[in-house]
Point group: none
Chain length 218, copies 4
Amino acid sequence: MAANRPTTASMTRKERAEDTRRRLIETAIDQFSRNHYDDVAVSDIAKTAGVAHGLLFHYFQTKRGIYLEAMRQAARELDLAATISAGLPPGRALRGLFRTHLEHVAERRGLALRLILGGRGTDPEAWELFEADRWKSITWLCTLLGFDPDNQALRLALRAAVGLIDEMTVYWLEHEQEFGVDAIVEEAVHAIRNGLASAARLDPALDVEPAREVLAQG
Amino acid sequence: MAANRPTTASMTRKERAEDTRRRLIETAIDQFSRNHYDDVAVSDIAKTAGVAHGLLFHYFQTKRGIYLEAMRQAARELDLAATISAGLPPGRALRGLFRTHLEHVAERRGLALRLILGGRGTDPEAWELFEADRWKSITWLCTLLGFDPDNQALRLALRAAVGLIDEMTVYWLEHEQEFGVDAIVEEAVHAIRNGLASAARLDPALDVEPAREVLAQG
Amino acid sequence: MAANRPTTASMTRKERAEDTRRRLIETAIDQFSRNHYDDVAVSDIAKTAGVAHGLLFHYFQTKRGIYLEAMRQAARELDLAATISAGLPPGRALRGLFRTHLEHVAERRGLALRLILGGRGTDPEAWELFEADRWKSITWLCTLLGFDPDNQALRLALRAAVGLIDEMTVYWLEHEQEFGVDAIVEEAVHAIRNGLASAARLDPALDVEPAREVLAQG
Amino acid sequence: MAANRPTTASMTRKERAEDTRRRLIETAIDQFSRNHYDDVAVSDIAKTAGVAHGLLFHYFQTKRGIYLEAMRQAARELDLAATISAGLPPGRALRGLFRTHLEHVAERRGLALRLILGGRGTDPEAWELFEADRWKSITWLCTLLGFDPDNQALRLALRAAVGLIDEMTVYWLEHEQEFGVDAIVEEAVHAIRNGLASAARLDPALDVEPAREVLAQG
DNA sequence: TATGAATGAGGATTCATTCAT
DNA sequence: TATGAATGAATCCTCATTCAT
């Protein structure tokens, strides 16, 4: 689990401190993606990280402190929107984004299943962290396709489509990838396109056909 | 909170016991749908139910015992499939089922948001209880439409469609029902129909068009 | 475990009550010889005896109540002195008494190992019950041999001899009776005879030789 | 109760910790030799030791943990064999050993009466601790006298002799030492010598006379 | 006599957090 | 920065005992 890093001996005091902090967060992410907040003991995190109990409080003040820090770090790692590559045609960009996302998620299975796809069941504040990323992606997509990101019908339909994609991802992860990544990516695009159609039904003022056309081409 | 019931005086000993038990479960459902397992204290449940601390253990042995009992009861209350009315044409039946479900869910908002739609984040064993209901519904639908409920592509696509519906329901609940129930029901049916199409893309051996047609008519 | 008794149906009300009581005590002896007082739950006794929880209190008022009643019953069952047969020559009587004791003890292994031979570790009040039996036997023996049962040296030496016999019994019970009962009985008699000698050394006023002679003949 | 120790102020942090630990064990021995395991409350131990409730668990994890640690410490303190002085003639060595043992036991009356001489009635695991010491002494004695310590007859007879000695010790302790230590020591030696004779009767292959002779001289 | 629901005190254990070194 | 001893509140669970039926 621990990557090979320079030995303790070869580090300056500051580097060692930085390293300790990193190790704590790393361990925290690991524990919190396995267990619920209340089922994780700070003393366990410290012990596993090989660090004195009290030091954890020196760095993060409180249990909730290290928890949120860990969540922030996890969100950063799995941030969909962070990988958006500008300049590509929308269909291409979206497909690339989904593929990258699936790869990330497959790598960090436990983390993803519990934190990202785990649903609202977890801590609300933490959920917001990940939910914010989702909305960032939705907003980005709306803008890309020339829609008003505040349109209620669009928001409902696209958020629901993301729900579909999340659930599909879970099924895919849990069934040892019986389906190829390409097929899943394609279904994700379909989900978005169907979402646009759904939005148009809920709000007839929307003209979604051009956008659906554009996304069809990848 | 307490429903109107016959007064304590008018009950036999056994009826009073039954009532106490019911009251405990009721309270437990309430508490567990507000807070996470670890954040609920058994003593609180007992106190709220107006019952001695130890009695709870007399009935349920352990905290987890009453928790699971409460979850089972909640699942029973919100069981989609339980309301299936036989004999109707599929499209009609499905729409009726969705409508009933949405009404239930609107009534038991807190419970639904945390437990049913709350996701895998909560207790795995509890999640299974609700997940089982979902699969029961999916299986019922497959059978109704003449499909093999074990087909992997169908399973993935329909489970994903349910994910969409759940997320749509959450959005609908959280936005004070800006959209009419009818519109949501209609979108849910679309989600299922799109799911069938998705399944056919993943598994070309499937012939889904007739079923999609049938569902279009409500 | 439960002996064959007339069926419940064939009993009068009073007999049934008597039977219930007996069953409770029987169960209590069993449980208390397996576990320490605090580790036995009244509810367990009641459940095992197949009797309502509260009924136990009807009969015995308190946990300690049924405990002492059970101990008394156990003491009665294993009372050494109870089997004393008058009229025999001392050596013969003593040997018969030891043999009977060993047989009893072998039959009620669990009970004996924990309660009788278990030592002072158990409840003092219960220990007294069994200790009293021991002193009764010692007194009987002194009288039989014409000694003053209050002589301190005799008391110390004979009580110590009983300690030897008890420990020998434990060893014998735990080693599947590698040694024949006859040999053990003979060693027990030796222990008593050595006890007399020991008493004489501690209190030179005692003349024990005649008694030692008498006991040698069996 | 508390021995004279350097004041708190004069200690390093580590020394103070060590001291706290010691104080906890000391208190535990005290409590457990007065009351049965279940009748001792951890919170009482902590309070008496003047230490926070939770600290006890920091050191010993569980109630049973501190209990066994206390028993081990008690066993160490009263270990007969630990005081064996090599090089002396057997009779002399044995007598010295008995005298030391009696002195120890008289000092730690409560502890001895309940734990060491208390018998099998207490916790089996704890009993084993003390029983092991007894067998160590018996083995030492066998070796000293040139016997095979695995001989069954010897084992039975010597273990029984130890039973005699224990019971004699109890009587002696409870009767305010009416008999002098020397007399008791001498009787203990007699018990061992009689044990050897007993073994020879049970196993005629044993030649115990020389050893009995040797022990006679002290 | 018999039942088992109801009570509430008591006790082990966990754990976040503080703090002296 | 780093350590781990110390604190005490919080919580689950057990169990003897009572009592209405």
